[in-house]
Amino acid sequence: MNTGDEMTTTTRAQDPIEASIDPSPATLPPRIVPVGPGRTADDARTGSPDVAGVAAMPKVAAEAVSITYGTKLAVRDVSLEVPERSILALIGPSGSGKSTFLRCFNRMNDLIPGARVTGQVRLDGIGLMDPDVSVVELRRRVGMVFQRPNPFPMSIYDNVAYGPRRRGASDRAQLDELVERSLTRAALWTEVKDDLRRKSGLALSGGQQQRLCIARVLATEPEVILMDEPASALDPISTLRVEELMRELRELYTIIIVTHNMQQAARVSDRTAFFNMGEDRAGYLVELDDTRTLFTNPKNQLTEDYVSGRFG
């Protein structure tokens, strides 16, 4: 069912000239597990160079990304890398472009009239800004959870099966299995298993809705999950459950999360990026480091002021 207007093919070539002469159109290639000789999973996690001095290929990377809305510059020249199976937290004051920046990893900015992204974003080294990238395929591999839970007005089961069905999954037993696995992973299965098909996704509590939305993303079997303040609309207990969930998901997925809650960033993330607004009100990356270091021993005075609550 991948026959939409947004469906195009992708080549590995980044150079436009190379791309145009590449005779073999292919979709995004399957995920590459960047565990080379002499590297351990832990190296991959922290992104530290291995003994031989060769840096691991990051799962996702932004290279000199700037984003404008019309004439307004919202994000200026951000470059960063996220190693596979790690959690990166984006923190910073309101309006510093965190959501805008997050949306460039699954090209959701394409949907906003007037938004323009320059620079390059890579998934497994493949340039996502290339015109021949299939955004449909990209968004399946890079899922997104929104600030406000947005379950579809249909049953819990249909919500979770939505993504797989749209790409042609119809085998009943396989879908059942996928739905159960996704809901289990999202820590919702035991609460909803008795009326999966009868109960609407809208009839759940806010925290359950958000976990349903996470399950819905997991069902499309993504590699990267983007979360934009996923717990900000939730009560403390639901928030804890979602945080717990994130730590479990880290074993399988690469996660980028935007949060205003610094304890949350400290609790769940491996590394933290601090964004700030410049004089021109454009957001930029001030500092990125291991979460512990960034919170306890930041290099930049602005970061120090922000994490100690002196501004923002």
Binding site: G4, R139, G143, N150, R166, S200, R216
Partner: protein, 310 residues
């Protein structure tokens, strides 16, 4: 009154003012207006219902006599079969909606999901002007352009086409297009943006999102639009009458002349004497039309309620 006095004496809070005080002047005016409104509607309904049964009460025709396909109000044997008109109304309206609904829903989808802002800014006022064009103008256009066009250009296809069921449905379909389009458009706009982004973020195409999220979520509104289009078409008299040919027989073919409840009523009402059977049967036809639109109104209410609950 004793209770009121006691309460007032106790706290001075639970004072229950007399009805006269509660209905102060502005309220009384509004209340009167509303009440007279309701009264007028009921009087009219009662009058039409009363007139609608006079054929059976005053003129002594059995109720079964109108359930016939023979319409012969002047020449013996006299017969007041209204089935050709009922079938004609249903037929011409049904085909009009079949033509108009897909076009309107497509246009509404385009406006709501695809069109750039400037296109919306052009099309929306155009639709409003569309609604404002009087039906006699549509009929006149149909009579002077559509019917001759059909006659001269489509006759090579092996049938004659001029004043016909098809011509009537075509004129009607254009007339109800803005109604269905604007209401469907509103239904699409009422679907939260979150749902669209949520669907697209899961790696679905725009078309899949329309098909599986938007259309189901806007289902009640779309059906309401279609039913409103149906009632508007069923009630339309003038434009239809001018292009349909007005032949009081059961409709058999899209290419043949036919007739409807409304066009027969407008044609005959001036030529009959109040109280005579051939006048009373027109009231009966009016009553049938009223029943049809009441059913439609009930349907809309039911659709909207079930839509709101989800």
């Amino acid at each position: 009154m004793a209770v009121v006095g006691e309460a007032a004496g106790l706290a001075g809070l639970h004072v229950r003012p007399a009805l006269r005080d509660r209905l102060d002047l502005p309220r009384r005016v509004v209340f009167l207006a509303a009440a007279s409104m309701v009264a007028i509607v009921f009087v009219l309904l009662g009058f039409i219902a009363w007139q609608g049964v006079q054929l059976f009460v005053q003129n002594g025709y059995p109720i079964g006599s109108v359930i016939s396909t023979t319409w012969s109000p002047q020449d013996a044997p006299i017969s007041f079969g209204v089935l050709p008109f009922v079938a004609g109304t249903i037929g011409v309206t049904g085909v009009a909606v079949l033509i108009s609904a897909p076009l309107s829903i497509g246009l509404a989808l385009f406006l709501s999901e695809v069109a750039p802002r400037w296109a919306r800014a052009v099309v929306q006022p155009a639709l409003e002007i569309f609604v404002g064009i009087p039906s006699v103008v549509w009929g006149w256009l149909g009579l002077t352009i559509l019917v001759p066009f059909l006659r001269t250009n489509l006759n090579g296809l092996g049938f004659t086409l001029g004043f016909s069921w098809f011509a009537g449905s075509l004129v009607l379909s254009i007339m109800i297009l803005p109604t269905i389009t604007t209401i469907t458009y509103d239904a699409f706009r009422a679907v939260p943006q979150d749902l669209r982004t949520g669907s697209l973020a899961l790696g679905t195409t725009r078309w899949q999102t329309i098909r599986h999220i938007l259309l189901p979520a806007a289902r009640a509104g779309t059906l309401t639009a279609i039913v409103l289009g149906l009632t508007r078409a069923a009630g339309e008299a003038l434009a239809v009458q001018m292009v349909i040919g007005n032949r009081p027989t059961m409709p058999t073919s899209l290419t043949q002349p036919m007739t409807t409840l409304t066009s027969q009523i407008t044609l005959d009402m001036g030529n009959t004497v109040f109280g005579a059977p051939d006048n009373n049967v027109l009231w009966t036809m009016g009553l049938i039309l009223l029943a049809i639109s009441m059913i439609a109104v009930l349907l809309i209410r039911k659709l909207n309620r079930s839509g709101g609950r989800r």
